[in-house]
Amino acid sequence: MTIRCEIVSQDRTVFAGDVDIVVLPGAGGEMGILPKHAPVLTTLKYGVIKIRKGGKEELFTVAGGVAEVQPDIVTILADAAENINEIDVSRAEDARKRAEEILSKGIPADTDVYLAMEAALRKSNLRLDAVNRYRKGGTRVPTSEN
């Protein structure tokens, strides 16, 4: 018994496949979705989506969005989503530094700029946290030197 899971972000399909269980960061806390789950519509928080399929686990960061659960399918419309193995640590590091720098100079007068910077900071923090916590083997270990 499997359930179909599709993760799409605005610019691409991040994941699509049949899986055993999906764990997602819902508005009311972590939700584990098994096949034949009751229909749910929930917003997503910043966090990590876990997908298990035959003992193998895949992890995705998600920066907010909406998930629709039907008994046979989970559709995740993410504002931004990435497979943890695809995260470019040095880029996330750079983005975090840049955002921190701008925010440390005081709050930008333009609200849009401020919100964009804050979102960028949250996103890169999420990515880095996720990589530190979950990535195995340490293909690209984050170092503050480079």
Binding site: V8, Q10, D11, V40, T42
Partner: protein, 297 residues
């Protein structure tokens, strides 16, 4: 027949035109590639968002779920968002959209207001004395969702405050390089069956009446968030589809113009050669005539 000098000028100007149209064709070719990438990249998200919206609309008692889902008993005003290009020289692209608009909405039983996206469409609508309440021109070449979200918001607001009772979206669907189809989609209130829809949302398989959703955090919060946003997303997707169509249409039109200019230049060249040859023949006849007159003496 025109003089050889005049014809030479003609040939030159036709060749210049061919050069310009060829340049435009090349530019459009690279633009269409980018636009197609953009439109296919967002298509899956837009399709899924549309599916979710439909599932929400299939819920029992949709009229009471959210003001944007409620079907109004009396339709007093219609709003049409018309998406065209900012520039011409794209074959029949712009006029097709406007022609479709007047076919579809000129006999509408209630007054129709328009929001024009694109300068050409605005000009054509204004010339036909339509009621244009909004105008969004000079959109960036590859708009982001934020660049165009204001358009969706304007439509949603007009619907919310009762200024209009239904909203249609009129745009050009990009099928492939050779085929673009003018399409209309009912944006608000949400329609479960699509009219003039060709390809992109067909994956939405008909699901029976689904059980009522559980909402997290709260029904009104989540519907308030996703319904206006997904509606604006449909506008965004339509704009991307239209831009890809515009560039493709321009590429084809400019290709045809280049071919025509080449044919024309060839025809003029032939005529010019004839005139030139005629002139030479006449000169030789003069000389021969003169020589004979001399030797006859």
């Amino acid at each position: 027949m025109a003089s050889a000098r005049e014809m030479k000028l003609r040939i030159k100007s036709v060749k210049n035109i061919a050069q310009v149209t060829r340049a435009l064709e090349t530019v459009s070719a690279s633009k269409v590639r980018k636009a197609v990438n953009a439109v296919t990249a967002t298509r899956s998200y837009a399709t899924k968002a549309w599916q979710v919206l439909k599932h929400v609309a299939e819920q029992p008692g949709r009229d009471s779920l959210h003001p944007l889902l409620a079907q109004r008993k009396e339709i007093k005003n219609t709003l049409v968002v018309v998406i065209t290009g900012d520039r011409g020289l794209a074959g029949a692209y712009n006029s097709n959209v406007i022609r479709y608009a007047s076919q579809r909405f000129d006999k509408n039983p209630v007054p129709v207001k328009y929001i024009a996206v694109g300068r050409k469409g605005r000009d054509l609508l204004v010339r036909r004395r339509k009621d244009v309440i909004g105008d969004f021109s000079n959109l960036p070449a590859a708009p982001t969702f934020f660049d165009v979200s204001a358009i969706g918001r304007l439509a949603v607001d007009a619907y919310k405050n009762g200024e209009v009772d239904e909203v249609y979206l009129l745009y050009t669907d990009f099928i492939n390089m050779a085929r673009q189809v003018t399409s209309v989609k009912k944006l608000l209130p949400l329609e479960l069956t699509d009219e003039g829809r060709v390809h992109d949302f067909e994956q939405a398989k008909p699901t029976g009446p689904s059980a009522a959703y559980d909402y997290e955090p709260d029904q009104s919060i989540i519907l308030d968030e996703i319904i206006p946003r997904f509606t604006a997303l449909q506008v965004y997707q339509a704009i991307l589809e239209s831009q890809a169509s515009e560039h493709a249409a321009r590429m084809v039109a400019m290709h045809a113009a280049t071919d025509n200019a080449k044919d024309l230049a060839g025809a003029y060249q032939l005529a010019y050669n004839k005139v030139r040859q005629q002139g030479i023949t006449n000169d030789i006849l003069d000389i021969v005539g003169g020589a004979e007159a001399l030797s006859a003496k």
